[in-house]
């Protein structure tokens, strides 16, 4: 019988005794089918960045269409003869592009890079472990994730093209092949790819929770964990509990699509002038199951972004984060509340006013811990002499977008206001600022901050700062303006607004947004150049170039296989800045305290 209490005094199976002596693995075992969490993390990050290029290409198509809705892009008609036969996008292709942009960015960019990528890379290092609790499962998770990504991209090539029912895949559009070309094989592939993604994400989340629980270094109590680890811990638990209902819904949708069941298809549905034989199904059932996942999923994405920003800030304010304990409990509270607010996505579905009141109330309640967390981030800046490095700029950008985007959430969480704003660009502006912008800026912040640790070289700061401004300014402009488009009644997912008199005056705004989007996308070349150049030519990085305090900075850059030569013994919390030690104005977590 084991006497070890999980979550109690931390140990690591690999932390016991000296580093294991292993023979050097070959190239394939080391870099391809690796079980090393660092390699797997980098694999996720690189795969996610490639997927981001695909997602950005789709965003470019969307903005070309909305900015210049009647322009004939002849060169595009040669590239996309089906979707843009005369150089103008067909409405069906626009739907597929919007669907795949959302799907790729949410599940295959942010989830890959920020959650699985940095989660894999950082969590074992920051808890002082040699690897994840289940390294083989971790490798399996990456390869299944890659398969799901390739499968999703391949759906562009099947008859009818990629799925076109939105990233939320609402039936009946997603359930009936005749509804839209993308609802043929493309939608089936979308569902299968998502099933693979969920399997992979579950393995990854399970690993992170088990790692945080069971292989923390000696002395690293839960309340000494960096906020990054806390955020991954909470996000992983959310993912484990919220994704299975989507799996269930996906199974039912597949059965509706291919085996004649009527889970989501109602009676008397007419599509392509034919009455479907289905009876009694409920499209709203899908919405409940989808959003039971969908809302926690936004916290799965945004919590790691906030955790990462909280870890970058003190390195450049040179003072501890403000209100650490309260921030931790806010993360826990947000995690719990996020599971019971899904109905605020469905205020217009005809739900009972009492249900609407309930969902409004709990949604507005969740803003309390979120606001406290945001105020703690702001207070962390108070009185500090800011060092405006690129990573710091991106972290400040996280706070800015979190504050402004969050404000829109107050309107959407209120059922009365949401009735007006539902399915308008207000919603698009809001969620892009939150799960698009906060996560994007945190991802870049994380890359600039931990690139030296990952690759042993520094990124170029001048290019980095230029990249920040070319990212933050157009991003803010685009999605701030989209709130106002929404207030004017512009509906989302429409491929053109030319047919509506009341939206004629928004054409100029859409043009400005499209130009800003081109600036934003062009600005990302600065990042790509910097990333590739720095990989080979960047200045060599020291073990702790930012004079930061967490455990990953105690090992070489890049860390060796097995991470730590000796067991790190943690003596302090994660934010010991503003103290005088022989290292400077900070103490890494392994430095004994004076009283000790």
């Amino acid at each position: 019988m084991s006497t070890h209490v999980l979550g109690g005094p931390p140990r690591s199976p690999h932390n016991v005794g000296p580093a294991p002596v292993e023979h050097e693995p070959g190239f394939i075992r080391r870099y391809v089918f690796s079980t090393d969490h660092k390699i797997i993390g980098i694999q996720y990050i690189l795969t996610g960045l490639v997927m981001a290029i695909a997602g950005a290409a789709l965003a470019t198509l969307i903005r070309l269409q909305l900015g210049w809705p009647e322009h004939h892009w002849l060169w595009l008609s040669r590239l996309l003869p089906v979707g843009m036969p005369s150089g103008v996008m067909t409405p069906e292709f626009y739907l597929a592009v919007v669907t795949m942009h959302g799907t790729i960015m949410v599940f295959f960019f942010v989830s890959f890079v920020l959650v699985s990528g940095f989660g894999n890379y950082l969590v074992p290092l920051q808890v002082g472990a040699r690897d994840m609790a289940f390294p083989f499962l971790n490798m399996l998770s990456y390869w299944i994730a890659l398969l799901s990504a390739v499968t999703m991209l391949a759906s562009f090539l099947v008859e009818g093209g990629a799925a076109a029912a939105g990233w939320t895949a609402y039936p009946p559009l997603s359930a009936v092949a005749a509804a839209v070309p993308g609802s043929q094989m493309g939608q089936t592939i979308w569902l299968l790819s998502m099933a693979l993604f969920i399997a992979s994400f579950t393995m990854s989340g399970l690993n992170i929770v088990a790692t945080v629980f069971s292989v923390r270094a000696p002395g690293l109590s839960m309340m000494r964990l960096p906020l990054t680890v806390w955020s991954y811990f909470i996000a992983s638990i959310l993912g484990l509990l919220a994704f299975p209902p989507l799996t269930a819904a996906a199974v039912m949708l597949l059965l509706d699509r291919h085996f004649g069941t009527s889970f989501f298809l109602p009676s008397g549905l007419i599509i392509a002038n034919k009455v479907l034989p289905n009876t009694g199904g409920s499209p709203l059932l899908w919405q409940h199951l989808f959003w039971f996942l969908g809302h926690p999923e936004v916290y799965v994405l945004i919590l790691p972004a906030l955790g990462i920003a909280c870890d970058i800030l003190p390195a450049f304010t040179r003072k501890p984060v403000f209100g650490y304990r309260i921030s931790v409990w806010c993360l826990v509270a947000v995690g719990c509340l996020s599971m019971i607010v899904w109905g605020h996505h469905m205020f217009v579905s005809g739900m009972s006013p009492f249900s609407g009141e309930y969902f409004s109330l709990v949604t507005l309640t969740i803003t309390v811990p979120m606001t406290i967390f945001g105020v703690n981030m702001l207070a962390s800046l108070w009185g500090a002499k800011l060092q405006l490095t690129t990573a710091m700029l991106f972290s400040l950008g996280v706070i800015a977008l979190f504050g402004s985007g969050g404000l829109g959430g107050l309107f959407l969480g209120n059922a009365t206001a949401d009735m007006q704003l539902h399915d308008t660009y207000f919603v698009v502006g809001h969620f892009h600022m939150m799960i698009g912008g906060v996560t994007l800026l945190a991802t870049f912040g994380a890359i600039y901050f931990w690139f030296p640790k990952m690759f042993g070289r520094m990124m170029n700061e001048t290019l980095g700062k230029l990249h920040f401004w070319f990212t933050f300014a157009p991003f803010f402009l685009i999605f701030f303006m989209q709130h106002f488009l929404g207030l004017q009644g512009a509906p989302r997912r429409y491929y053109a607004f030319t047919a509506f008199d009341y939206l004629q005056k928004t054409r100029g705004q859409n043009l400005v947004i499209s130009i800003a989007a081109m600036v934003l996308i062009s600005g990302q070349f600065l990042f790509l150049v910097n990333f590739v150049w720095s990989l080979f030519r960047g200045h060599r990085a020291a073990a702790n170039p930012w004079h930061a305090t967490t455990l990953e900075w105690t090992v070489a850059s890049p860390p060796p296989h097995g991470n730590f030569d000796a067991v790190p013994v943690v003596q302090r919390w994660a934010y010991e800045y503003g103290v005088q030690t022989i290292d400077g104005d900070f103490a890494v977590q392994t430095v004994p305290s004076v009283s000790a």
Binding site: H4, T202, T247, S262, G280, L289
Partner: protein, 188 residues
């Protein structure tokens, strides 16, 4: 030596934690099916289909396999390896018997003209029992793994017990899920 023992204990803890987290995800999966069942149940086209009586026998078989697994586990702890091996063999046979019985139930329903899309009730029945059967297949693989450890020579009782503990948790859990599902589709 102590470090090694410590390592093994920790590995067991991690495996146990991993299993419980996995079971939490499976619970959420079946909770989603159940909530969908309850919602869909209120539809005007809901029609209960007759469920084959063999399901009662299957339930008994699954229950018996859990009992034999417990007997095997206790026998192993008392180092009565022949009895433990026999218990595992019986649990395996009964486990495969349950699976065969479920297939038999589906075949009977098909023979009576009750197919997947025949009614919402039959759709849920096939889907939920199918999802359960897939998990049973995975659990049978785990059962086989533990049985192989029991039949092989040179066992370390503590490691064996830890492995069998995982197997028992998974198997009994699926037994519980089956009783719940059977009650749901029969009574509601």
């Amino acid at each position: 030596m102590n470090a090694l023992a410590d390592d093994i204990t920790l590995r067991e803890d991690q495996m146990r934690l991993g299993l419980w987290m996995f079971l939490a995800t499976v619970t959420m999966l079946f909770a989603a099916f159940t909530s969908a069942y309850i919602v869909r149940r209120s539809g005007s086209d809901w029609r209960h289909v007759a469920l084959p009586p063999i399901l009662w026998l299957n339930t008994l078989v699954l229950g018996a396999s859990s009992v034999t697994l417990e007997i095997a586990s206790r026998a192993g702890l008392e180092r009565r390896w022949r009895a433990a091996g026999g218990g595992f063999a019986a649990a395996l046979v009964l486990g495969f018997g349950f699976l065969a019985g479920q297939i038999g139930a589906w075949r009977q329903m098909v023979a009576e003209g009750v197919y997947l899309p025949s009614s919402p009730h039959s759709s849920f029945f096939y889907m939920m029992t199918g999802a359960h059967a897939l998990h049973v297949v995975a659990a049978l693989a785990v059962l086989l793994w533990s049985a192989a450890a029991t039949w092989s020579a040179g066992r370390d009782v503590r490691a064996w017990d830890a492995q069998v503990g995982l197997c028992r948790t998974f198997w009994h859990y699926l037994g519980g899920v089956w009783v719940f599902l059977f009650a749901l589709v029969s009574l509601y």
